[in-house]
Amino acid sequence: MLLISALVSGIGLGSMYGLIALGFYLTYAVSGTVNFAQGSSMMLGAVLTFAFARTLGWPYPLAVALALLLCALYGLLVEFVAVRPFVRRGSDAWLMATVALGIVLDNVVLFTYGKEPRALPSPLAQTPIELGGVGLGVYPLQVLIPVIGLLLAAALHALSRRTRWGTGMLAVVQNRVAARLMGIPIRRVVAVAYALSTLLAGIAGVLIAPLFNVNADMGTLFGLKAFAVAILGGITSAWGVMAAGLLFGIAEALITTTLGSSYTQILSFGLVIVALALRPSGLFGRAEAKKV
């Protein structure tokens, strides 16, 4: 019973990490860059949904749709302001610039939304699932999140294989120069990848909001764990990233349940280091062949 409950809550948590980590995968695949402040993008999704649905009292679907649209636009902004100018000059300063933009966003939210944590109730997060009269320790929403996460990973996979945009993206990944010569608008492909990446983080934010306290620094720890997950999964595979998210979440929950919470952070991050030492390109990644 202990283990079942740990497993279910681990899968719920893990798929949230996976969802945010998918955003790292997306932009890294096409541009070799990431938005280090994905946690802040997640927070933006949750805070905007709260603002539209609770503060302004709009219907939930409209609030979510608008919040996600704004998240995608924020992704375009991140790419335009914090990534493109540096990549153009061959600088790695986008590393710092994306972190800085995330801090700016956190503080803008602090300033406008306030720092008092708020709750965003959802009918899917009120009555826990019971098995034979015993609470399993999860709301239906926590089971829905992995389903949505896997569906999104599948959709990304299909998008990259079946659509013109997707094959364009893959072409950019394989060979930038050749892709440009073939008339693929690289800049636009990268911008779209950033929009999709913050959109994914925004979806994670909307899904997590009812389970969590909505406030400006809710994304910090998630962003950090999601990055660990992306690296662990080998950042170059959508399935790998999602699977690594689930593994990390389950490991966390199992360690807490069996050994106690004092060991959770030490052991779960310790495991990441061990895994990466054994497989430097991640659990599911392929070593990058540098072509000269």
Binding site: L2, L13, L110, K115, P117, P128, G137, F212
Partner: protein, 401 residues
């Protein structure tokens, strides 16, 4: 994401620094006139997650100052003036604020310390500079028991080690607790209470069936709670800020585990019932004061004055968090009495002045000789009240013994 430290600012030129220090020196060394106000520094969080609590401290202290000034001030007609600084719950900013208040504003005393880590960072400075520091909130045991001699730190608030003794007594009385489980935030505040609770249990020949920690940003405490349940806990002792405390309650709800929860005062720091859902009301937590229920004449007076001074205070429900207002109000009055007894604004004289206070009819209680050498805490477990959220209001439901 790990947040890299802010880039180091380029150093201002040496000459500019010299000019600035000369200018400051000139400003600070003017002759003291009889009508010069006595400055009281206030260091607390005025922005951020604890802003509401910081504002309550600020209002409590200001109300006391208004009353003292209306009666003609101190030391032969000098008015009191509150100089407020925001520490943003950040120890480094608290230290900067305390230094500025001491060296630039030349305050007679500092009121402050909302977060234990911030207060702990300020303690060495005030002891070195001999400026009395009155803590109206932060409960860390080591703030007043800091080992310094002479010790310039006083407190009118709950103290962790006393709260922990109180939590156990209240739980035993109310829930017949025999096998408590501890669920604590993983930071210095949690640690301070882990030690306090262990000591309190040991003193009664008991021990905790399990001790679990959570991070301030955790959202699922089911695994930790599952361990405590498996260990046979019959009551949970909870220590954490309002956000994670709410997550503990939600996790209990998901598990379908109905267990009494006795908590430190974290839940009082925000919209606990909104965050924790319907079961939030079942949590019993410690307070030093409540404006609900029958009030003393001082209580009536404070409620009336607050409603007159602040337009957004429509009733006692808006006097929140009550502990901030009440602690700071009493702390400011006691500090003023210490200054009067000292007959000057000299730090050491004020420190001795605190010891000379014989009796004060305060808001929280009647203080009889509240401070003595080695006793810098004015409140004890018997002064605490235990409360629950009922209809979104913090309502007292019991006393410690």
């Amino acid at each position: 994401m790990p947040r890299p430290a802010a880039p180091i600012r380029s150093h201002p030129g040496r000459r500019a620094l010299l000019c600035a220090s000369v200018a400051l020196g000139l400003l600070g060394s003017g002759p003291l006139l009889a009508a010069d106000p006595i400055k009281i520094g206030l260091v607390t969080a005025l922005s951020g997650q604890s802003a509401l609590a910081g504002e309550s401290i600020s209002r409590g202290a200001q109300l006391a100052i208004d009353e003292i000034n209306a009666k003609g001030g101190l030391l032969g007609g000098r008015q009191l003036e509150l100089v407020r600084r925001d520490d943003e719950s950040n120890p480094a900013k608290g230290v900067i604020a305390a230094r500025e208040l001491i060296f630039k504003e030349k305050v007679a005393a500092i009121i402050g310390g909302l977060d234990t880590p911030v207060a702990m960072a300020i303690v060495p400075i005030v002891n070195a500079e001999k400026v009395p520091f009155m803590d109206p909130w932060a409960a860390g045991t080591a703030i007043t028991k800091n080992g310094a001699s002479p010790n310039y730190v006083f407190r009118v608030s709950a103290v962790d080690e006393s709260v922990d003794i109180g939590m156990l007594s209240y739980a035993q009385k109310t829930f017949k607790t025999a096998k408590p489980g501890l669920i604590l935030v993983n930071n210095p505040w949690g640690e301070s209470n882990e030690k306090g609770l262990k000591d309190a249990l040991a003193a009664k020949g008991m021990s905790a069936v399990g001790i679990e920690k959570f991070e301030g940003n955790d959202l699922d405490m089911v695994p930790q709670l599952t361990r405590l349940k498996a260990a046979g806990a019959d009551t949970l002792f909870l220590v954490g800020n309002v956000g994670p405390s709410a997550q503990v309650v939600k996790s209990l709800d998901r598990m379908g585990w109905k267990v009494p929860v006795v908590s430190h005062w974290g839940p009082a720091g925000g919209r606990f019932t909104e965050l924790a859902g319907p079961n939030g009301k079942d949590v019993h937590f410690v307070q030093t004061y409540s404006f609900y229920g029958k009030q003393s004449p001082v209580g009536e007076k404070v409620i009336k004055a607050m409603m007159a001074k602040y337009p957004n205070v429509k009733g006692v429900g808006d006097l929140t968090p009550a502990v901030g207002i009440a602690n700071a109000y009493d702390a400011m009055h006691l500090t003023a009495m210490a200054i009067s007894a000292a007959g000057s604004t000299d730090g050491e004289a004020i420190r001795q002045g605190y010891y000379k206070i014989a009796r004060h009819d305060g808001l929280i209680k009647v203080y009889n000789k509240p401070f003595a050498e080695g006793k810098h805490d004015a409140l004890s477990p018997d002064d605490y009240v235990w409360a629950q959220f009922i209809d979104n209001r913090i309502v007292p439901v019991g006393v410690t013994n």
